[in-house]
Each structure stands twice: as structure tokens, then as C-alpha cells.
């Protein structure tokens, strides 16, 4: 995995965010992680609106997106991103408690790259996070606004 790729985590539950961070690091992923407490915050970052921090040019990003969030929910964030000609290239992984097939189908149709349900079975969760690490490692993460390599 490119070490300069930044992992964005949009998750309203601080506990979940912590678990994701711990497990990514336990899986050996050392990339920079930025946490956003709701959908609006991640949109502000990516679309460079409101207070900084803002997305930087020349940096590759991946997004881990929770669905159920206050203000703007994950599906809306996904919709906004996939509707933008540049931001649509950011890989998005939905991480949520919902395993409703219809919701999963909806996210896939909107263009999410991966979908992981938050399992209580911790081993499975870790496996899923590891898979995400693997996924991040093999995906050519595009660098927005500037060519990568």
C-alpha cells in the first residue's frame, strides 16, 4: 500500500472509529488516518468548504464510510462523491451495521467499491479490515488533480 495514501474514516461512533483504527494498525496498516464525526465534516474536507483541514492536491485518499450518521448520512455522502467528476475516483468502502441486502444493493448501484458489515464477531471484523488493507494495497489509488507516478 502506498504509504502516502491517506485513509479517511467517516464514523459518528467514536468507539467504532477507535476499533477501526486499532484494527487497521494491528493489520499492519500505517497510513495516516483522519477521522470525521459526521457526513457534513467529510464533505467539507473533500469539497474544501468551511474550516480546514481540507483535501490536499497530490495526495491519494481512500474513504471508509459509515451509513447511519447525523446531519448527512453515508449514502448521501456517497451520492455527492460519485456525482463529482474528480472525487468519484476516490475508492469508498461502506462500513455499517446494516446487512439489509437492499441497502447494500443501493450503495453498490451508487458506486461504492466495497461493503463491509460491522460484525460483532470480532474475528470477522478483523478479517474484513485486513481484507480492506489488502484491497487498499492492490488498488491503484488515484491521485486526484495530479497524476500519480
Amino acid at each position: 500500500m502506498h504509504e502516502n495514501v491517506v485513509i479517511l474514516v467517516a464514523e459518528d461512533d467514536m468507539g467504532h472509529a477507535g476499533l477501526i483504527r486499532k484494527n487497521l494498525s494491528r493489520a499492519g496498516i500505517v497510513n495516516k488516518i483522519i477521522h470525521f464525526p459526521d457526513g457534513q465534516a467529510i464533505l467539507d474536507f473533500l469539497f474544501r468548504q468551511g474550516d480546514p483541514p481540507h483535501r490536499e492536491a497530490g495526495v491519494g485518499y481512500v474513504l471508509l464510510l459509515d451509513i447511519r450518521m447525523p446531519k448527512v448520512d453515508g449514502v448521501q455522502v456517497l451520492e455527492r462523491l460519485k456525482g463529482d467528476s474528480e472525487l468519484c475516483r476516490i475508492p469508498v468502502t461502506m462500513i455499517t451495521t446494516t446487512d439489509d441486502p437492499r441497502e447494500i444493493d443501493r450503495c453498490h448501484r451508487l458506486g461504492c467499491n466495497n461493503y463491509i458489515t460491522k460484525p460483532i464477531d470480532y474475528e470477522r471484523f478483523v478479517r474484513a479490515i485486513r481484507q480492506l488493507g489488502l484491497f487498499l494495497a492492490v488498488v491503484q489509488v488515484p491521485d486526484i488533480t495530479e497524476t500519480v507516478d
Partner: protein
Amino acid sequence: MAAVNSRSQSHAPVSELYFDRDRELHLKQVLLAIRNVGRLITTETNAQRLAGRACQVLTSDLGYHNAWIALTDQNSCRVTMTVSSGFGPRFRDFETRLKSGEFPRCMRKGLSSDHLIVVEDPVAECHDCPLARHYAGRAAMIRCLVHEESIYGILSVSLPARFVRDPEEISLFDELARDIGFALHRLAASEETRRLNHIVTTLPEPMAFLSPDYTYLAVNEIYATFYDTSLEKIRGRKVVEFCGQDIFKKYIKPHLDRCLAGEEVRYSLKVDFPDQITRWMDMIYRPYRDDSGTIVGVIVHGRDVSAHMETQEKLRVSEQRVRNILDTVLSPEKDVADLALEDVLDVEGVQKLMDDLYQALGIPIGIVDTEGKVLVATGWQEICTRFHRNHPETCRNCLESDTQLSRGVEPGTFRSYRCKNNMWDTATPLVVGGHHLGNIFMGQFLYEDEEPDLELFRNQARKYGFDETAYLAALDRVPRWSRDKVEHALRFFAQLSHVMSTNAYARLKLASLLQEQKLAKEELARLNAVLQAKNRELEQILFVTSHDLRSPLVNIDGYARELSLDLGELEQKCPSRGQEETHLWEDIRESLRFIRSGASRMDQLLAGLLRLSRLGRAALDIRVLDMNALLRETIENMDFKIRESKIHVYWEDLPVCLGDAVQVGQVFANLVDNAVKYRHPDRQCSIHITGEIRDENAIYCVRDNGKGIDPAHLDKVFEIFHRLEPDQGEGEGLGLTIVRRVVDRLGGDIWAESIPNEGSAFFVALPRRKDNDIQRKETGNA
């Protein structure tokens, strides 16, 4: 040609003495002519005659040499009539021109101004006018005949040219034209009044003009006709003389007084007119005011709305009848007792039947309701129709006989009696729903073996003033029957009336039941809709809460695991510790295990709840299901578990049903799973699946030889989260709840039978045909 103001001053340059004498003479002649015209004006009633004679008068006394008048229409575009005097046949050419709309210049000018037009020398000035050459040295004066802006025509006279500028001449002519104009105006106005008068007089709706003391000042023809009198006879008389004191005081005077006080009054009134006709009148009273605004009379306008009212009344009666029937049918508390016989009996149909019967057998029949109203009648005897029913007293006898003597006869039986007019009659009751609504009468007749008491009938004839010979002849024509024939006929009619009554009652009852059923169905549909809405709401709540509950669980389990991982790391870092510490470590580990197993259990429950809620929301795909194939597939999917536990599953040929393959598969998987879960520890588990068709359903039975269920708990097995043995196995206690939910949605049913220690049987009923119930459930959830 010049327009000259009548006030303009000018003098003729001729020898004054001669001129004065001449002038005086001419003015006298003109004055005479004007006086004669004035006389004409007061007596003549026809505009054309007036014009014609005025022309003659103007020239006969040599006032003017000649004269012509053209009367025009309102727009003065068209000449309606011309008259002339002094021109003779020479006027004809000119007249033709006028009538074809070709007006000479002088006339065009005269019609368009209120001034006198003078043509001093027509011969020299008017080349295009055929009349001009006949003026021979005389001048012409032309003026339109006008009054208050209304133009009625044009007047032209000729006079010696020397007078034409004489102001007195001019003013006299001016006055003359004005007088004729006014006369024409008056005649036109009176013609209009006459026309309006004619309209009112011949109006087909009665109108009258009343004075404030309720006297007729004028009425139109129809008004007089209504009171069967003439216009002359009604004028000057008082209203009360025609309508009578009662009606006048009660209805007419109060309304007239309100009108005289200034109000426009409208009301309806039923009036008995002298021509024996009762009419419904819509009356309008309008106050009539004189120039000063004082009310000096009332204009009465009546409209005969009898036809309308009759139609309304008929409609009301027929509506009432329909309503009665409907009430009886629609409301359980209403009963047949509230209906009249004609409401339940097909009067027309029965009448035809009886007519035919009379033609065939000569048996006279009447059907009369309990009020004495004759509904069906055929073959009535002349003695009844011509005599008894025609005299008020004997007619009352008839009615009393029909209603009183026929009382208390048992349904299906009959009674023969001598009617109050001494004829034989028989009656059998029509009883509908236990209520006596009327009777069938057979009569009148006389028994063969019984000679009528002629003296008695002669007395009756005398008493009631019947023509004795005709009456006795009618008596002679009354049918004479043997007692045997009467007996047979009566039995027939008793039976017939029983059949008719039963039919009528059955029809009403049926209609009433159908209505009840309809109401019940509507209520059912309403309740179903409410239930479905509630169900959807519950499923939504279930969905949202189970989601929100899962979120904290992720933390509880996640951090509990983090703790045990941290604990492991800590152990590695500090491997040596005392016994007490080891104890503590174990305590912490055990706590963490409980936390994690609790979280895991809760997760299972939530997953089950989510599945249940999803089940309720998922769209159904209803098809005919091959249950043998479906079951084979289900069991194959469970193969591992079944082989592992050495379960014997077998089934017989199963009937098809309608359902959603996935969900029905789930039902059987859950039932088999349950049988495996609660198998008897001491014997091999055997599961036997059978199916049969019962009415509209296919009923399947999953029977096991397991532990069985205590009958006391049998009802609870389908309840949510109910587990009979919480300690055994995983299971979230939702299996049977899900099964019941699925079966409900598919329009089926599920129930269980069990004997403890021998085994349980679960029955699943699923529909074989697509009925409304399923469709509704489908659309409600789709």
C-alpha cells in the same frame, strides 16, 4: 337651398300694401289648415290615416299648394308609407324612388337636422328630383316629423316663393310639423302600450292588478278563466268574493299586506277553483308604485305548478316506497311490519296472473291490504262495481267487510262469510314474516244450492236508490258455485297466498342478509387495512431499533476483545505473579468472556429480529409450488446437520399449494430444524412429513418422535423469543415466530399438536387458489 332658422328675419322686396294683404290671406289659410290638422290629431288613432288626411287638409283650404309626407322607420332609413296631396298621379315616380330608398337631397337634409329646410326654386335647384318640375315658381318647405329625438318621417309643403322667408310663415310651418310629430309619437306609444297590453292579456299565466283594498282593477284572460268568469265580471270586485273568506284570511290577505308594505312576496298555495280543478299555484306579489313612489296597488302573478307538484308527489310516494323497502332490508331493527303489502308484492305481475286465471276459470279475485286498499282485482261483479262500490254507504260496507270480516284467519286457511252487502266472499290472509299485510279475496259469488233472498236485495235497492231491475239483473249474473268448487278454489288460493307470502319474505330476508354480509365485509376490509398499517409500522420500528441496538454492541464486544488482547500483552510483559494476582487475572478473563458471550447472544437476537422484520417487508413471489421438489431441496441444504445427527426424514407425495418458494422453504427448514433440536435423547429422531387437501387449502404435517411439548405450553411456542429450554442449543427463540409470520402473509395457518415424550406435529395450511386475501396481503406489502 338653405337651412333657415325659424327665428331668422327677412323681408320680401315687393309692394308692401299688396304684399301685406296677400300675406295676411295666406297666413289665415295656413292657420285654418293647422287648426284642422290639430282637430285630426285629437281624433285619429292610426298613424297612416293621420298622415294621409293631414296632407289633404293642408292643401284643401289652399293653405299650401301641395304637400307630401313620408313616414320612416325608427332609423329613418326606410320609408314605410308615403302620402301626397296636390300632385295627383305625378307623385308616383317620386313615391317609387322613396320606397326604393332613394331620398332627394332636401329630405336627406331634413331627416338629419331639427331645422326647417327651404328650397326657394325647386325647378332650378333640384335637377335630380322628379317632383321638382311640378313646383312651377313655388318654393318648398321641408321639416322632419320628430318628437323627443324620435323621428317618424318628413313633411314637405309648397307655397308661393314670396312667403318663404316670412318668419310667421316659417313659425307656423314649424309648429305644424311639431304637432304632427307629437301626434305620431303619441300614436306609436299607444300602439306599444296596446301590444304590451295584448301580451299581458293573453299571457298563459294568470296576472292581476289589485288596489290596496284588495279589489281587482285589471286581470288577464287566463285569470278570469281560472275563476270561470269574464274579464268584465271580475273587474271592480274583491278578491274575497272569488276565493272565499277562509282562504283569503288565512293565506292571501297576509301576503297582500306584506306586499302593500313594500315587500315582494312569493308563496305557494293549493287552490280549489270553481272548475273542480285543484291547482298548486306559485304566487308572486309585487308592489305597484305611482310616480311619487307611493304603493297604490299590487301586481299579482300566479304560476300553475300543479303538474310539477303532482310529479313531485308521485316521486315522493315512490321514493318513500323504495325507502321503506330499503329500510327493511338495510336496518336490522326495521321489520316487515313497517312495510305495506304493495311494497313487497309484485302487484303488476300478480294482477296479470289473476287476469289470466279469471279468463281461464272465471274465478274473481281481489288482493286487498289491511287498510282496505285494493291492489289486485279481477273479475269483479257488476253488482259490486256498479252498485255496491258506487254508493257511499254500501261502499263503506264493502271496505268494512274487506278489513273486519277477514281478520283473524289463520295463514294457510280461509274463511267464507256473507259480506255486509249480503254477498258471499272468502278471505285468506297474506302473512309476511309473521305480519298480516293483507288478504286474498275470492268473490263475490253465490252458492248453487242456495236461492238468494230476492226480497232482501229488493230492500237494498230501495234503501240505496239502486235501479231495482238492473240491480236484480246484476245479482242474477253473479256466479253460482257448488260448495265443492268453492272448497277447491279456496284451498288453491290459501296455498297460493302462502307461496307468495313466503316468497316475498324470503326475498326480503335474502336482501337483508346480503346487506349484512356486505357491511360485515366492508368492516373486515377496514380492519384488515388498519391491521396492515399497524404491521408495517411495527416492522419499521423493529427494523430501526434492531439496527440502533447493534451499534453499541459493536463497541461492547469490540472493546471487550481489545481488553483481552491487552490482557494477553500484559501477561507476556509481566509473566511472573503471585497466586492472588493469578486469581484476579482469571476473574477479569471470566468477566470478559461473559461480556462477550452476552454480546454475541444479543447480536443473534437482533439478527433474528432483523430477519423477522425483513421477512415482513420482503415482496412475495406467489407461485404454484411443487412441494416435493421444494422439500427435497430444503432437506438437501440441511444435509450436513441431518447426517451428523442420524436423523431419518421421509415424506409422502405432497399436494401443490400457492406460496413464495423461498419463504415456504424457510418454514419447512425451521420446522425440521426444530424437530432436530428437540429430538428425544433416547431414540433415533424420525421426521415424517405428510400432506392432504382440505377444502381450499393444502395441509402439511411435520411430525416427529421428539420430546414433545407440554400441552400447557403449546400455545406459546409461536410467541416471539419464547424458548422452551433456554439452556439448550443456540437459537434465538424466533424460529416458530418467523414461521407463523410467513404462513400468515401467505394467507395460511399454522398450529401444533403434541404428546409429551412421544412427539409433536406441526400443521401448516397453505391456500391452493389465489384468493383476494393473499392478493391484498401482497399489494399491502409490496
